[in-house]
C-alpha cells in the first residue's frame, strides 16, 4: 500500500499529505482478493440449519419464560419482614430471572447472526475524511461572503467589543457561585471565613473530655495504662449542636495513657499531659481521615487510609507515610473533681494542611 496507489489520496486533487518519516515499501506483500468462502455446517447441511433455527427460537421463548419467572419471583418472595434473608431471596430470584431473560435474548440473537444469517463478507471503499475540493471551496465562499456582508474581519471595533462583552457577561454568572458557601453575618461573624473556622474547635479552657459517643465524662484515675480512649468535648451531642458533624469532624481526640517514663513530650509541651495521659487530635494531618489504630507496645498511631504513622510518645511526630506534620496535641489537665478537662483549644488548626495555615 504505497501511498502513490492509495485511492484515499487520489480522490482529492489538491491534497498531497506528507508521509512524514514514513518510508513505504516499494512492493509490499499484497493480496487483493478475499479468501474463498468457507461454508458453515448450516450452509452445507439443511438439518444443521434447522437445528440452528430451532435453537434460536427456543432461546427467545426461554427468555419469555424467564421474564415471567422474574415477575413471579417478584410476587413470590416478599421482603416485608425486613429480614436480610428474605431480601436476599427476592434480589436473587428476581435477578436470576432477569439475567436469564436478557442472556437468552443475547445468545439467541448472536447465534442467529452467526449460524443463520449470511456470512458473506463485503468490501466497501473508504473515502478521505477531508471534503472534496469543491465542497471546501464552497465552505470558504460561505465564510467569505458572510465576512463581506457583516464586516466581521474589517470592523475590528465591533468585533472586539462584542467579544469583550460576551466574555464580561460570563463574569456575573461566576460571581453568583460565591453563594455556594455561607457568608458572615452579625449573628455569626465568622461563618464566611474558612481560615477562622478551620483554626477553632469546640475545645476551650475547662471543657470536659467525654467518651465518644456516650458523652460520659472521664476521670483521670479511671484510665488504665496502655489504653486508648475515643474522646469528644462535653456538649457535642447530635441534638445539642446545630452543625454537629462539622464540629465533630474537628474536635475528635484520642486519649492514651502510658508510663510517665516512656513519654517524651516535645519542648514546651511538657505540661500538656497529665500523669502519662496525653490527648491528640484524631484527624490525620495528611488528608483528614480519623487516625486511630493504636499500637499499645510501640505507642504508634496508624492512619487506616494512607498508612501514616505517628509516635504518640514523642508528641505524635510522623514516623512514616505521606503525612508531614505531627498530630496537634490538646493540652489537658484535671479539674477539682478529678475529671479530665482541656487547658485550651488546640494551638494550631487540626486536620489536613491548607494554604493559609502556616
Amino acid at each position: 500500500m504505497a501511498h502513490e496507489d492509495d485511492p484515499l489520496e487520489h480522490e482529492r486533487a489538491s491534497w498531497q499529505p506528507s508521509p512524514g518519516l514514513a518510508v513505504a515499501v516499494t512492493d509490499p506483500v499484497q493480496h487483493d482478493s478475499l479468501p474463498p468462502h468457507r461454508e458453515r455446517m448450516t450452509d452445507k447441511d439443511p438439518a444443521a440449519m434447522k437445528r440452528a433455527v430451532r435453537t434460536v427460537y427456543t432461546l427467545f421463548y426461554l427468555s419469555v419464560a424467564a421474564s415471567i419467572w422474574a415477575v413471579a419471583a417478584y410476587i413470590l418472595f416478599p421482603i416485608e419482614s425486613g429480614s436480610l434473608t428474605d431480601i436476599r431471596h427476592n434480589e436473587l430470584f428476581v435477578g436470576l430471572g432477569i439475567a436469564a431473560a436478557l442472556l437468552a435474548i443475547g445468545v439467541g440473537a448472536i447465534h442467529w447472526s452467526k449460524a443463520v444469517m449470511s456470512d458473506k463478507e463485503f468490501i466497501e471503499p473508504r473515502h478521505a475524511t477531508r471534503g472534496r475540493d469543491t465542497t471546501r471551496d464552497a465552505a470558504i465562499q460561505a465564510f467569505a461572503e458572510a465576512n463581506e456582508e457583516s464586516g466581521f474581519g474589517r470592523r475590528a471595533m465591533i468585533r472586539n467589543s462584542m467579544i469583550a462583552a460576551v466574555v464580561a457577561s460570563i463574569v456575573p454568572g461566576i460571581t453568583l457561585f460565591r453563594g455556594l458557601a455561607p457568608e458572615g453575618s452579625p449573628a455569626d461573624p465568622h461563618a464566611g471565613d474558612p481560615v477562622y473556622l478551620l483554626s477553632h474547635t469546640m475545645w476551650k479552657k475547662g471543657t470536659r473530655l467525654v467518651h465518644d459517643p456516650t458523652g460520659a465524662p472521664i476521670k483521670a484515675a479511671d484510665i488504665e495504662i496502655g489504653s486508648a480512649v475515643h474522646v469528644i468535648p462535653e456538649g457535642l451531642m447530635p441534638d445539642e449542636v446545630s452543625n454537629y458533624l462539622d464540629e465533630k469532624a474537628k474536635a475528635i481526640v484520642l486519649l492514651v495513657r502510658m508510663p510517665v517514663d516512656q513519654l517524651h513530650p516535645p519542648k514546651g509541651k511538657e505540661s500538656w499531659g497529665y500523669d502519662g495521659i496525653v490527648a491528640f487530635s484524631k484527624v490525620c494531618t495528611h488528608v483528614g481521615c480519623p487516625v486511630a489504630l493504636y499500637e499499645q507496645q510501640t505507642h504508634h498511631l496508624l492512619c487506616p487510609c494512607h498508612q501514616s504513622q505517628f509516635d504518640v510518645s514523642h508528641g505524635a511526630e510522623v514516623l512514616f507515610g505521606p503525612a508531614a506534620r505531627p498530630l496537634p496535641q490538646l493540652p489537658i489537665e484535671v479539674d477539682a473533681e478529678g475529671y479530665l478537662v482541656a487547658q485550651s483549644d488546640f494551638h494550631e488548626p487540626v486536620g489536613p494542611s491548607f494554604w493559609e495555615r502556616h
Partner: protein
C-alpha cells in the same frame, strides 16, 4: 356501493399490492412512507443500512462500555425515583431492624429504604453499582486496544481525545455516585477529597469551602454531587458519546490488515442484518451478565457501614477500583514533604501526587499529537497496527500500564501487608521503587520483545512454520520440514511501511533549531531500532529458493529410489507410491510436505485460515 365509482388513485396501486405486497406488509409500508415523507429517513437508512463494519474480537471492547452505560442509565433512572439527595438528619424507621432509630441523613435513609422496603430495589442498586464498575473498565480496555493498535492516528486523534474525556467523566460519575448514600465509607472518601483539595496552593481552602458549602462535611455536598451525578455529568457524557459514535461512523472503523483489507477499504459484514443482530444481542449479554453478577454478589453493603461519622475508623477499606490509582498515588508520597514558604503552606505530599496524576493523564490524552508530530505523517491511517510492529509505542504503553498498575496496587498497600505478612514500610518502599524503576525496565523489555516478535514474523514469512516433522533424507541427512505460510496469512504478518529517524540538517542560516533537533532526537528514540518490512520480491525469492531446494531434493530422492529399485531387480517400478484409491494419506516425505501447490493435498492449515 359500486366498485366502478371508487377513486382511481386507490384502485391503481391495488393490483400491484396483490402481486407483491410492500416489504414487511401494508402497515410497515404505510408507516415507512409516513415517516419518510416527514423526515427523509430513507436517505439515512440507505447510508447506514448496509454500511460495512469490520470484524475482530477486540472491536467488541468499546461495546462493553457502551452497553454497560445503557445499563447504568436505566438502573440509575429507577433509583432517582426513590433517592432523596438531602443531608437533613432523620431517624431511620425502615424495614432493616439493626439500623432502626439510628440518626442518619435523608440520603442514607432513602438509600436503605429503596434497598429494603422496595421489592427489587436492592437488585437495581446492585445493578447500578456493578454496571458502573463495568462501564469504567470497558472504557479502559477499549482505550488500551485503541492505543496499542495505533487506531488513534489520523483521522481519529480527536475521537481519542473525546474518548479520553469520556473516561475522565466516567470516573467522575463513579465518584459522585459513590458519595451519594452518605454512609461511613463514602463520607471517608469525601474527607480524603476534601484534604486533597485543601492541599492545592492558593485556591485549595476556598475551593473546599465553596464545594462543601462551609466546613467539611457540611450539609450541602450530597445535594450538589447529586446534581452533578444525574444532570450535568450525564448530559456532557451523553453528548460526547453521541459525538464519539458519529465520528466513528464518519471515519469508519479501523480494520486489521489481511487479504483484500487495505487502507482504502472496509471489509466485513453489513450493519443490517448482521451487526444489528450482533450488537443488539451483545447489549443483552452485557446487561444480562451485569444483572447476574448483581444478583449473586453484594457490593457496597451500606447497611453494614452505617451513617457517616467523622470519628469511627474502618481499616482495610478499598475505594472502587477506578479511584484506586489516585488513592495509591497519595500513599506513595514520602514523609515530611511540606514547607512553609512565603508565609504559606506548601503541601507537596499532596501537590506531587496530584501533579504526577495530571501529567500522566495529559500525556495519555495528547499522545496521538505527540506521535504525529514526531512522525510528521499527515496521511490517513485505517489499518490497525499489530502492537509488535510499533515497538516503541507498545513499549511506552506497557510502561504506562505498569505505572498505572503500581499506583493501583498501592491503593491496597495495607491489605498487601496484612495478607502477605509484610511490613507496611517494606511494601510502600517496594512500590515506590517499582513506580520509578519499573516503567524503565518494562519499556526496554517490551521493546525488545516487540522487535523479537517482528523477527519471528519475518522468519515465518520467509521460511514457514516449524512443522515439527523431522525427515530423514535418502542420503541419511535429517531435516526439519518447514511449512510455508498460507498465502492469505502472509499479508497479516507482513508490514508495509516503516519510519526512519529524522535526519536533521542545518537550515539556510547554518543553524539547527531547537524544536527540529528535539524532534530529530525523539524520532531516533522511536525509530532507530526497526526492521525494514519485507518486500514481495524478497518473499518470492525466498519461496523460489525453497522450491529450488525442493526440486533438488526430489531429484536426489528419485535417484535413490531408482537405485533401490534397480538393486532389487525392478527398474521399471514407479518412483512414487501407487495410489490404489484406498489410502488417502499423504506420505511424509519432504517433497510432499513442502509442495503446497499440490491441489490434491491442500494443507489443513490453509483451509482453516481461508474460512476466517
Amino acid at each position: 356501493m359500486s366498485t366502478t365509482t371508487a377513486p382511481s388513485e386507490t384502485e391503481a396501486p391495488a393490483p400491484a399490492s396483490e402481486k407483491e405486497a410492500p416489504l414487511g406488509g401494508r402497515f410497515l409500508g404505510w408507516a415507512s412512507n409516513y415517516l419518510d415523507e416527514r423526515t427523509s429517513l430513507s436517505g439515512f437508512v440507505k447510508e447506514l443500512g448496509r454500511k460495512i463494519f469490520p470484524d475482530h474480537w477486540s472491536f467488541m471492547l468499546g461495546e462493553i462500555a457502551l452497553w454497560s452505560f445503557v445499563a447504568v442509565l436505566l438502573s440509575g433512572t429507577f433509583l432517582t425515583f426513590f433517592f432523596q439527595a438531602s443531608m437533613v438528619e432523620t431517624h431511620y424507621a425502615g424495614a432493616y431492624e439493626p439500623m432502626r432509630g439510628v440518626q442518619m441523613s435523608a440520603a442514607l435513609d432513602s438509600t436503605l429504604r429503596l434497598s429494603f422496603d422496595i421489592r427489587g430495589g436492592l437488585l437495581v442498586r446492585q445493578i447500578h453499582h456493578w454496571a458502573a464498575l463495568v462501564f469504567v473498565a470497558g472504557i479502559g480496555v477499549h482505550m488500551l486496544r485503541v492505543f496499542f493498535t495505533g487506531a488513534f492516528r489520523k483521522p481519529r486523534e480527536l475521537n481519542w481525545v473525546i474518548g479520553f474525556i469520556l473516561f475522565v467523566l466516567a470516573m467522575a460519575e463513579g465518584f459522585t455516585g459513590y458519595s451519594l448514600p452518605d454512609d461511613l465509607l463514602s463520607g471517608n472518601g469525601l474527607a480524603i477529597i476534601n484534604g486533597m483539595i485543601k492541599g492545592i496552593p492558593v485556591i485549595g481552602t476556598w475551593t473546599s469551602f465553596l464545594l462543601f458549602g462551609g466546613l467539611f462535611p457540611g450539609n450541602q455536598i450530597v445535594g450538589r454531587l447529586y446534581t452533578l451525578h444525574i444532570l450535568l455529568l450525564p448530559a456532557i457524557l451523553v453528548g460526547l458519546l453521541v459525538l464519539h459514535l458519529m465520528l466513528m461512523i464518519i471515519n469508519k472503523h479501523t480494520q486489521f490488515a489481511g487479504p483484500a483489507r487495505k487502507n482504502s477499504n472496509v471489509v466485513g459484514y453489513p450493519m443490517l442484518p448482521v451487526y444489528a443482530s450482533k450488537m443488539g444481542g451483545f447489549f443483552f449479554i452485557t446487561f444480562g451478565i451485569i444483572v447476574l453478577i448483581a444478583s449473586l454478589f453484594t457490593i457496597n453493603p451500606i447497611w453494614n457501614y452505617g451513617p457517616y461519622d467523622p470519628s469511627p475508623v474502618s481499616a482495610g477499606t478499598q475505594p472502587d477500583w477506578y479511584i484506586g490509582f489516585a488513592d495509591g498515588a497519595l500513599r506513595l508520597a514520602p514523609p515530611h514533604l511540606e514547607f512553609v514558604w512565603l508565609d504559606h503552606t506548601w503541601s507537596f505530599n499532596i501537590i506531587i501526587p496530584l501533579v504526577v496524576l495530571v501529567v500522566f493523564i495529559v500525556l495519555v490524552m495528547f499522545y496521538p499529537f505527540i506521535e504525529a508530530w514526531i512522525t510528521g505523517d499527515k496521511r490517513e491511517h485505517h489499518i490497525a497496527q499489530r502492537p509488535r510492529n510499533s515497538a516503541t509505542r507498545t513499549a511506552i504503553g506497557a510502561a504506562g500500564v505498569w505505572f498505572y498498575a503500581v499506583l493501583w496496587a498501592s491503593a491496597s498497600s495495607d491489605l498487601i501487608a496484612t495478607h502477605f505478612q509484610l511490613t507496611m514500610e517494606g511494601v510502600i518502599h517496594t512500590l515506590q521503587g517499582a513506580l520509578i524503576i519499573g516503567p524503565i525496565i518494562i519499556y526496554f523489555v517490551a521493546k525488545r520483545i516487540c522487535i523479537a516478535l517482528q523477527k519471528k514474523d519475518r522468519e515465518i514469512l520467509l521460511h514457514g512454520y516449524e512443522s515439527g516433522r523431522i525427515v530423514r533424507l535418502p542420503g541419511g541427512e535429517f531435516i526439519e520440514v518447514h511449512q510455508p505460510v498460507d498465502e492469505f496469512e502472509r499479508i497479516k504478518l507482513a508490514d508495509y511501511e516503516t519510519y526512519e529517524p529524522l535526519v536533521v540538517r542545518p537550515n539556510a542560516k547554518g543553524r539547527i533549531g531547537f524544536w527540529r533537533n528535539f524532534r530529530g532526537s525523539l524520532s531516533r528514540w522511536f525509530f532507530e531500532d526497526r526492521l525494514v518490512p519485507i518486500t514481495h520480491t524478497e518473499l518470492e525469492a525466498a519461496h523460489a529458493h525453497q522450491h529450488h531446494e525442493l526440486e533438488q531434493m526430489a531429484s536426489i530422492e528419485g535417484e535413490e529410489i531408482q537405485g533401490a529399485h534397480e538393486r532389487a531387480g525392478h527398474p521399471e517400478a514407479p518412483l512414487t507410491p501407487i495410489d490404489d484409491g484406498k489410502s488417502g494419506e499423504v506420505p511424509v516425505r519432504p517433497t510432499s510436505v513442502l509442495n503446497t501447490d499440490d491441489p490434491a493435498h491442500p494443507h489443513k492449515n490453509r483451509e482453516k485460515e481461508a474460512g476466517q
